[in-house]
């Protein structure tokens, strides 16, 4: 991954970038290589990004209107093979074998067919160079078929040897026993001559083809670019992506009805709908608050992914999006902790806080933090969170943070909250009912081993959690300042059957605060 994106690979996975790359189907090795190189566009490469996005946009039109050249282009691209090995051998003046000549001939035919697809090439801003002279070298008889062998047309001497060989072979087919064996020996001698002449021709042919190497390499790269842009356009059509509008520095990023492709797909599998998210992210700090289960983490990931996709030259999954170009992206969430590495989660957070801050001093970034300091002493944690919000509020970077700690209203700090569940809706849910003991026994008991220690059947609880989630309004709304952290957590605990005594204590403690 590009050093312009500061994120752990686990988090990147959660943010969903690998899934985006996987969903973008390139057909050629050249296109896949471009995709996997993951180019990050910043302000210096703004023009190139504009060109890339414009090309994708024009291609989406052709794909949507099912332009006949699209199928032809995809068919041709699917046939293109990896050519680096063959090109490198040509460049070094090595001897090519027939398979490699065949491969080159195939590629040259693909180049010439793609060259004819003017509509696509213009839309994709891709151009091919004329390599018809190289094609002719591999088709001396003008047969116009993709097959290849060392043709007799390459040299009169080869033609003569082969005609002698053919005569011997005819005799072999007419004879048996010792006569046949003698003829086979005779044939072996002719074949030695043929081999020698064929090898001479291979050297000569390779040298002639090497003259066309720059053009062939250019065309192979053009195929990769065309393939990658078509794949991105296809993804944009499948995911209802929108062409992002790039705005000047200092202007806010405005995302309208943004969806997280992977989360949305998972929800759809369960018959649920992803609630699109809209937000405006200004220079400075944006604080996101909201009830537990309100989808704050998903909102952060959705927005981060959409803006990152934009700067990687993809169409984000949204209704519309405008954004300035950030010099770097950072995402930090200690949610999963680093229990496996045995490292303190705050320790790692502190390292990220340090690194992001240092980078921010020299470059404009988009820095996203999901509930930092969640495991820290609340008073100190609130101090740290407030300090970051205040500091970044004065910076040119955009700091986007989800937190439960109260953040005081200051210039440069804006607030959003997840709409959440309206209290009256929550109260309409039927109270939790304990299942009877006999019901519980119906659950098939695991036979042996560690499974006897753990609760296996969670179906009922999961259903209930899902029902509560269904009531949640995941949309974000802009608010003036940070309200008292919305309650709802204790109500949710109650709805999930937390015992009364414990609930009473929770409420009492809440009121004391």
């Amino acid at each position: 991954m590009h050093s312009s994106v500061m994120i752990t690979s686990d988090l990147l996975q959660q943010v969903g970038l690998p899934a985006v790359l996987e969903a973008c189907h390139c057909r050629t090795p050249q296109g896949s290589r471009l995709k996997n190189a993951v180019r990050f566009y910043n302000d210096q490469s703004r023009e190139e990004l504009e060109k890339e996005l414009a090309a994708i946009s024009r291609l989406t039109v052709l794909i949507t209107e099912k332009h006949p050249q699209i199928v032809e282009a995809l068919t041709q691209l699917a046939r293109l093979r990896e050519l680096r090995g063959t090109f490198s051998r040509l460049e070094k003046g090595g001897l090519l074998d027939d398979t490699e000549f065949f491969e080159l001939k195939g590629a040259l035919i693909i180049f010439s067919r793609l060259t004819k697809l003017r509509d696509i090439l213009i839309s994709a801003s891709v151009n091919f160079e004329d390599t018809s002279a190289a094609t002719a070298l591999l088709d001396p008889g003008g047969r116009s078929n993709p097959a290849f062998h060392i043709y007799s047309e390459y040299s009169p001497s080869l033609a003569e040897i082969r005609s002698r060989k053919k005569e011997v072979e005819w005799q072999i087919s007419q004879n048996k026993g010792s006569q046949r064996r003698t003829l086979l020996t005779k044939r072996a001698l002719v074949i030695a001559e043929e081999d020698q002449e064929e090898e001479r021709i291979r050297w000569e042919l390779g040298a002639k083809l090497a003259d066309w190497l720059p053009q062939m390499q250019h065309n192979a790269d053009a195929c990769g670019l065309l393939d990658f842009r078509l794949a991105k356009a296809d993804l944009a059509v499948r995911w209802n992506g929108a062409r992002p509008k790039l705005v000047e520095q200092g202007l806010p990023a405005v995302l309208v009805d943004t969806r997280h492709p992977e989360v949305a797909a998972n929800l759809e599998k369960h018959g649920l709908q992803f609630t699109p998210i809209s937000i405006e992210i200004q220079q400075g700090t944006t604080v996101l608050t909201g009830a537990n289960m309100g989808g704050k983490s998903v909102a952060l990931k959705t927005i981060f992914l959409a803006l990152l996709m934009t700067q990687l030259g993809y169409f984000p999954n949204c209704q519309s999006l405008q954004t300035p170009l950030f010099e770097f992206f950072a995402f930090e969430s200690s949610q999963e902790g680093d229990i496996n590495r045995g490292l303190s989660s705050f320790g790692l957070e502190a390292v990220s806080i340090r690194d992001h801050y240092r980078r921010n001093k020299i470059q404009r970034g988009l820095i996203v933090m999901d509930e930092p300091c969640r495991g820290t002493n609340p008073a100190e944690a609130a101090a740290i969170v407030n300090a970051m919000c205040k500091t970044y509020g004065r910076s040119e970077s955009s700091f986007f943070i989800a937190t439960h700690y109260p953040v005081s209203s200051q210039p440069g700090i804006r607030f959003y909250q997840v709409k959440g569940i309206r209290p009256e809706v929550l109260h309409q849910l039927p109270p939790y009912q304990e299942r009877s003991a006999s019901d519980q026994q119906e659950v098939s008991e695991p036979k042996t081993g560690i499974t006897t220690l753990v609760k296996v059947d969670q179906r009922e609880d999961l259903t209930r959690v899902r029902r509560i989630q269904n009531l949640m309004d995941y949309r974000l709304e802009k608010i003036d300042g940070m309200h008292a952290v919305p309650s709802g957590a204790i109500k949710i605990a109650e709805l999930l059957g937390v015992d009364e005594a414990l609930l009473r204590e929770m409420l009492a403690a809440w009121q004391e605060e």
């Binding site: 093979r81 074998d97 027939d98 062998h149 087919s173 074949i191 043929e194």
Partner: protein, 356 residues
Amino acid sequence: MEAKAGLLELAGLNELQSLALIGMSKNAGKTTCLNHIITAWQASGQTRQLALTSIGRDGETEDILSGRAKPRIYIPAGTLIASAEDALQRSDALLEILELSDVRTAFGEVIICRALSDGYVELAGPGASEEIAVISELIRQHDPECLFIIDGALSRRSQAGSGLSEAAILAVSGITAAVPEILAEKAAFALDLLQARLVTPEIQENLMPLIISHPTARAILLSQGKHQIEHKAIELPSLVGFGLDISKELQKNSSVLFLRGAITDQLINELLKEPHFANLLLVVEDGTRLFLTPGTAHKLQRRKIELAVLNALDVRLVCLNPTRSNGQLLNPEPLLAALRQKITNIPVVNLGPSNM
């Protein structure tokens, strides 16, 4: 010439689209048999072309394992072949490359070629049956009418049947046994396994969707439940060495056990330790998956376990190559007589090298 053209009629090769050659042992004479078919095909003036590939490697001048000289494959112009790059380098027919298959072997990518001249070729095809299917598809694209012959090494890891070919020829030689009666006994038993009966349409209907939906399951068990047939798919890295993992899933009401892979004595013996491995139908992909000795087959019979296959193999011909592993030529007549006495429903012919 007449006898050779007769070979085609004897095995009914004229009307076939595909054929597999199966050897009972290494050096059973498959290549010799293939050369006979090629000669007969040419002699009888067939208009259709032959297309050749092999499972694994064949046609090389020396047996890689024993170092002994082997017969080479001599093809006429027009024949299609699918063989790996390295093997093509060692072929001397003028070959036109038609397509690169993307199927890789230890000897390089398998390439589809057409011979523009007569000559020797070495065949080295893919090892897995799915890859053979890819090759078959590509060959058909270039020549829909051809007779596609798969020179199939009968080995534990690859297979000649499994729906890849319509028919098969079994090659037997003096290597399996030099004593006529013993050879005949062994060949007849091998034929029984190869031609194990096809499962009933009803069981096929129950099994096929499960096999398709569990592509990596090594074993699928059908049991008669209270109201309906229940199934269990068992995912294992291989069959060999995992017999106990399969047998522990067997119940009293288990009625069908499908196993994907080679069925060996060792596996069956592991399964036999489980008393519930009885009174059921053991289904395998095809007869080439069964590597059982008569003793083990007998044990299965006693447990009332029947064998059945998903793809029946139509064995058209048994070819005898009357040579022993040391190259000594045996008198073919007693061998032929013994084989013909034991194998009555399939023609047995002598296609030894001396007959070429």
